[in-house]
């Protein structure tokens, strides 16, 4: 049963990931991304990381990709994207880095750390129960990792405030600055 769930989720994940890269339409890419994210959530559930699985779906599939789609819908999809490459050596560098990443994953998968623990390999069903459940993660987050947690919150607030400042900088007197109401009247095409 574990093997079946794993291979089914892995197949959806790989299919989705390939779809993200290969789809010609941006919206199709985003949809494939949702499929891949949900497959990752299934794998998290299998590893007993229930909170991670829920957060994966809530944050990534439920909010981030929705915002991607929102932007695509507002700005429209360009089918005639320029295929001219502006950065030289981009393609060969990409191939080299991709091969290096695959080699690294395969090497790490069979490796063990100096402590004798397997580096990335583990049981298909994950560690003992109670490891990734909500209570355990919450306790760690609010005791051991309190400072990183609070600093992340500050970072997010800064990002929001920055976004608001950038979006509202245009004032009526500032001449050529883009008007807040302008995209609505022109950009809908």
């Amino acid at each position: 049963m574990e093997a079946f769930v794993f291979f089914a989720a892995a197949a959806i994940l790989l299919g989705g990931a390939l779809g993200v890269v290969l789809a010609r339409n941006t919206v199709h890419s985003a949809l494939f991304l949702v499929g891949a994210l949900i497959a990752v959530a299934v794998l998290f559930v299998q590893q007993q990381a229930h909170l991670l699985a829920a957060v994966q779906v809530i944050v990534y599939a439920g909010a981030v990709v929705v915002l991607f789609l929102f932007v695509i819908m507002l700005l429209g999809v360009d089918d005639y994207e320029s295929l001219e490459e502006t950065i030289p050596f981009q393609r060969p560098a990409g191939i080299v880095l991709g091969v290096a990443a695959v080699v690294a994953v395969i090497a790490l998968a069979g490796n063990t750390w100096a402590t004798g623990r397997p580096s990335v390999r583990g049981s298909l069903t994950g560690p003992a129960s109670g490891f990734g459940n909500v209570e355990a993660v919450g306790r760690e987050l609010f005791t051991t990792f309190l400072w990183p947690f609070e600093l992340t919150a500050v970072l997010l607030v800064l990002a929001v405030v920055g976004g608001v400042v950038l979006a509202r900088r245009s004032h009526p007197g500032s001449g050529d600055a883009p008007d807040a109401s302008a995209p609505r009247s022109e950009g809908a095409e």
């Binding site: 769930v5 199709h28 949702v34 957060v55 809530i58 439920g62 909010a63 929705v66 819908m73 909500v134």
Partner: protein, 409 residues
């Protein structure tokens, strides 16, 4: 036969192995819940039309079947045999996929709703509930997040203006109210102390003691300690399901049909089904979280157990509570006019989200105070006064209506 361990509790993938009986039980439960939801939608649409007709001094549907009960079925059959057209500008794949993306999360979210208590089927102990997940109520938030895709992609893939506007409205509205929904649940979880829907229902179960008033069935419900989250949750849930007065997604006076303008035949019917299924699921979640779920008095001696008290009474109480809530939604639909878009946004962002956050703060202070043994007479007014002060500061710093308009112009 000694009952085995509980099915599908804290182990949704059955890593301990499955046999045919378990597979059959799970499949049977899934089919039963799906059929129940379909019948519930059919019944609800008839119920809604009949009640609104009553409120408006009309008769309502009365031709198909006794009291017009079969009217929805007749409509569904008609839609099945209608031509399915699609616009030339539509994106064919996404256009066909969108109805299913709309209906799937509505059905899946119902999986965590406890319909009844614990029963024994063929020697296996199981809950009358599709799945008891360790992530519990987080699953609802995840599914209501995914529910957006159906509406959004339907509007975009139709390749026409009105559906696109409906879809853009939908994504903004549902994203905003999802925040309020989630934050209201935080306030509730501080009271319940558990994420699992089964655990939340067990908390509200009747202790079987008529002696003191605090132990009576209704007094155990979480709606009393969590009244503020309840109100916020109900408003946010109505907005999340695009039910009137928040149905700006398909406002017919402004957007023809909103996101499903270009859909015909059975695909349109599926959107219709998804919308009402969402409403029923959300009402069932409200029953679970705040109104005690299937908890209620049994028949005869309370510890008698038995077939009737295990199978029938909990389901009866659950359906009764659900019916009352659904009547409330019909009442709202018949009574309240649709909000303007800016009213919708200001309600969500200026009241519901702040209210839920402040309530979470108050609940946390009261809980810590209880754990530390502080005096309730100081902690509760202190927390409420602090929250009121914070909201007052926030309110004073919000731009007034005139200011805002001037600045954007």
């Amino acid at each position: 036969m000694t009952p085995g361990p509980l099915l599908a509790v804290a182990d949704p993938l059955f890593s301990d192995g499955v046999d045919l009986t378990v597979v059959l039980i799970v499949v049977g439960k899934t089919v039963a819940v799906f059929a129940m939801l379909l019948v519930a939608v059919m019944f609800y649409v008839w119920f809604m039309r009949k009640v609104i007709a009553d409120m408006q001094n009309r008769i309502g549907p009365h031709r198909a079947g006794p009291f017009g009960v079969l009217q929805t079925l007749a409509d569904a059959i008609k839609l099945f045999f209608k031509e399915q057209s699609s616009p030339d500008t539509a994106d064919p794949w996404v256009y066909r996929l969108a109805p299913y993306l709309a209906i799937l999360p509505a059905f899946l979210a119902f999986a965590i709703v406890p319909i009844g208590g614990e029963v024994t089927i063929a020697g296996h102990r199981t809950f009358l509930q599709l799945a008891e997940l360790p992530m519990g109520i987080l699953f609802l938030i995840a599914m209501s997040g995914l529910g957006l895709y159906g509406v959004m992609l339907a509007g975009w893939s139709s390749g026409s203006k009105y559906p696109l506007l409906g879809a853009v409205r939908a994504s903004a509205q549902m994203l905003s109210y999802e925040a309020a929904l989630g934050l209201a649940i935080i306030g509730l979880l501080l009271q319940s102390g558990t994420l699992s829907t089964r655990g939340i229902v067990d908390l509200q179960a009747w202790t079987g003691n008529w002696g003191s008033l605090g132990d009576w069935p209704v007094a155990q419900w979480l709606i009393w300690p969590a009244l503020v989250p309840f109100l916020i949750f109900v408003v946010a849930a109505i907005a999340e399901t695009n039910h009137p007065p928040f149905d700006l997604v398909e406002a017919e006076q402004e957007l023809v049909g909103g996101f499903h303008t270009e859909y015909t035949g059975i695909r349109f019917a599926i959107f219709f089904l998804a919308e009402f299924m969402n409403l029923i699921t959300m009402s069932a979640i409200v029953v679970t979280l705040f109104l005690g779920g299937p908890a209620g008095p049994g028949i005869g001696a309370l510890d008698a157990g038995g077939w009737f008290n295990a199978w029938i009474m909990p389901v009866f109480w659950f359906l009764l509570k659900l019916l009352v809530l659904l009547y409330g939604t019909v009442w709202i639909r018949a009574t309240l006019p649709r909000l303007r878009y800016d009213q919708l946004m200001s309600l969500g962002w200026k009241f519901l989200i702040e209210g839920a956050l402040l309530w979470a703060m108050i609940a946390a202070v009261i809980r810590v105070g209880g754990d530390q043994g502080w005096s309730t007479w100081i902690v509760v007014p202190g927390a409420v006064a602090g929250a009121a002060l914070l909201y007052g500061l926030l309110w004073a710093s919000m731009p007034r209506r005139g200011e805002l308009v001037e600045e954007i112009r």
